[in-house]
């Protein structure tokens, strides 16, 4: 992940639902917000000037409350929803310029999707579900069966090949959804609130499965969620949407340490800071070794506190993965880290 290569580039993407969208688009571009637009022209503002670069091999989380446009945004990437205006580049091709035939090809080869409510085919067996993406490409049955069995085993559902989705529990169904998406070997994985419908224990289990798979496969994953803990756990980058506008897009640590406005601050207010803030976010940069113990830059605040409580007066040394000293942490750093930051932007009215 040293060299960041941009795989998907979203430029000035707008989506307006309703009639006479071209007029509404003008109004939005002139600064009208969602509520005013609804009142004036009876159109619903879905996405408002979204610009986002998604790096290859990373998990890009898109977060927001319901109605913030996150599900709309992810559906633009494979054009399940057509935009009102804007561009989405995959490498050098603008996805929005593809003809129907090219789009079908593109969906078959480059992107696959996991859905919140699983959306499995109830009349097909697990094997047929997982092989669906391959089967519709015209690949022979032997080949897709072999690949599907491999993925079914990989998500831990060995022996369930001939079951129907209705016979499995929610967590198992979503494993099928995941296997189905992985079976086509598409490099981009779209996950629309994929784990939101599962109960907490199973959700956490599925997150671990996803992270395991990602360590091995290095896919580019766009992950939609409304759950900040989930976003912090799996996201390499987190973009926050509100009323169709992108508010902040940065690394998870940065979101917690430097929320851009009150909306983001509100979002992060309830998380357990001690469990998510890492050493590198609170250290004072230095390259000389301090008197206390040495810790990794990814260690979370809670663990640092454990270590420091033995000798509170001695600052700990922070080293990065290569073992180089990059900073130190003393008690005031810890206190500063625990404190909720004030938003940096101005207050948002309304």
């Amino acid at each position: 992940m040293n060299k960041k290569e941009i795989l998907i580039k979203i430029n000035q993407l707008y989506k307006i639902f309703g009639k006479d969208t071209s007029h509404a688009l003008e109004l939005v571009k002139n600064g009208m917000n969602k509520d005013e637009l609804l009142e004036k022209s009876n159109c619903v503002l879905g996405l408002n000037n979204i610009n986002l670069n998604i790096n290859k091999g990373q998990i890009q989380v898109i977060m927001g409350l319901s109605g913030s446009g996150k599900s709309t945004l992810i559906r633009h990437l494979n054009r399940l929803i057509e935009p009102t205006s804007g561009e989405i580049f995959f490498n050098d091709t603008n996805i929005l310029d593809l003809s129907i035939k090219e789009l079908t090809q593109f969906r078959q080869n480059h992107m696959s999707m996991v859905f919140q409510k699983f959306a499995l085919f109830p009349h097909k067996t697990i094997l047929q579900n997982v092989g669906y993406g391959l089967a519709i490409q015209g690949i022979s049955k032997d080949v897709w069966t072999e690949k599907s069995v491999k993925w079914i085993n990989r998500v831990g559902l060995d022996g369930y090949e001939s079951y129907f989705p209705g016979q499995l529990s929610g967590g198992m169904q979503q494993r099928v959804g995941l296997a189905r998406a992985l079976a086509t070997d598409a490099e981009i994985l779209l996950m629309d609130e994929a784990f939101s419908a599962l109960d907490p224990l199973i959700r956490s289990e599925m997150q671990n499965i996803l992270l395991d798979l990602q360590n091995e496969l290095h896919k580019t994953i766009i992950f939609i969620t409304h759950d900040l803990d989930e976003a912090l756990k799996i996201g390499d980058r987190i973009a926050i949407l509100r009323d169709g506008s992108m508010i902040q897009d940065s690394g998870p640590q940065n979101i917690i340490m430097n929320p851009k406005d009150d909306y983001v601050s509100d979002f992060i207010k309830d998380i357990n800071r001690a469990r998510v803030i890492q050493a590198k976010s609170i250290m004072s940069p230095t390259n000389t070794k301090s008197s206390g113990p040495v810790i990794s830059d990814k260690m979370v605040l809670e663990d640092i506190l454990q270590i420091m409580s033995d000798a509170p007066s001695k600052p700990v040394t922070v080293k990065n993965v290569e073992g180089k000293v990059i900073g130190k942490i003393a008690m005031p750093n810890l206190i500063e880290g625990m404190k909720r930051p004030k938003s940096q932007g101005t207050n948002i009215t309304g």
Partner: protein, 295 residues
């Protein structure tokens, strides 16, 4: 204030001329095109006659064996099988075998006709809202107009015989299969279709791989209703020359033969029940995947 209490009607003479004009126009139409239309339906007639002959000339044990086989394939139920066997034996014993075979032939042909026209129409309706807004009122007319009324133009055009009877039966029986095909496809879960889309399925792959299989139980309910309505129409169709169980019923009504009417009427009922149970069981078996949910 006359107009307030008496509805302002059209002039009598005007109304008469108006009706006459329609009658003459249609008569001219049927005189000039009637033969052409008749020859257009020629293959249908041959098809129907062929089936009728096949059913009547095949020895009865073979027919019963065939029907039992179909019933078993459809329902996999011993009680239904026994019921079917007893019913057909009784029908034969009471001397209604030939009429029953004629009725079976026309039901079979009209069901095939209804399915082959109805399902594609339903698919087209499900695909396009515009087609739906055009077809729905047509179906409403077909279902509600008294059947005697549309018998008039059909008879004027094609005379009395098997084909007009078949057409009359189809007009009456086709709406359920069209409606329920449309409904079944439209009711398929949007999320599942979205999933198919996201994997790059094209229209036909979605239709035959996802929509039709999931709509099949609903479509089958439509086919079931179509068969039932075709059976109900058999008596009326006998008025315009369709042979079968309807004819004796008609004769019984005009001559007040209670026993004759009752027996043939009951034979129609028995056929209806057998068809209904077998097709319903078949429809249920098709949605087995829905029923085995553990939890």
């Amino acid at each position: 204030m006359d107009w307030f209490f008496e509805f302002p009607e059209m002039e009598r003479s005007g109304l008469r001329d108006f009706k006459k004009a329609i009658d003459f126009a249609f008569r001219d139409f049927s005189r000039s095109y009637g033969e052409g239309i008749e020859s257009f339906f020629e293959p249908l007639l041959m098809f129907l006659v062929w089936f009728e002959k096949l059913f009547i000339h095949t020895p009865w044990p073979i027919i019963i064996a065939g029907i039992l086989l179909l019933a078993w394939f459809g329902s996999r139920s011993i009680p239904i099988l026994i019921g079917t066997l007893v019913s057909f034996l009784l029908i034969g014993y009471f001397g209604m075998w030939e009429d029953t075979m004629s009725t079976l032939a026309i039901i079979l042909v009209s069901t095939i006709l209804c399915i082959s026209i109805g399902i594609p129409t339903g698919i087209a309706m499900a695909r396009s809202d515009r087609v739906q807004t055009i077809v729905v009122p047509v179906l409403d007319v077909m279902q509600t107009i008294p059947s005697f009324v549309y018998l008039i133009p059909v008879v004027m055009l094609l005379g009395i015989g098997k084909v007009p009877g078949l057409i009359a039966v189809c007009i009456y029986a086709i709406p359920p299969v069209v409606r329920l095909t449309n409904l079944g496809i439209r009711l398929v879960d949007k999320a599942v279709l979205e999933a198919a889309d996201s994997f790059g399925a094209n229209y036909w792959q979605k239709l035959f791989g996802v929509q039709m299989p999931l709509a099949l139980p609903t479509i089958f309910a439509g086919i079931n209703q179509t068969i039932m309505m075709a059976l109900a129409m058999v008596v009326i169709a006998s008025m315009i020359g369709v042979k079968g169980l309807g004819l004796p019923v008609l004769r019984a009504v005009s001559n007040q033969y209670l026993a004759l009417g009752l027996m043939n009427g009951l034979a129609i009922v028995v056929l209806a029940i057998i068809f209904d149970r077998v097709t319903q069981k078949f429809g249920l078996r098709m949605q087995k995947y829905r029923k085995e949910i553990k939890d």
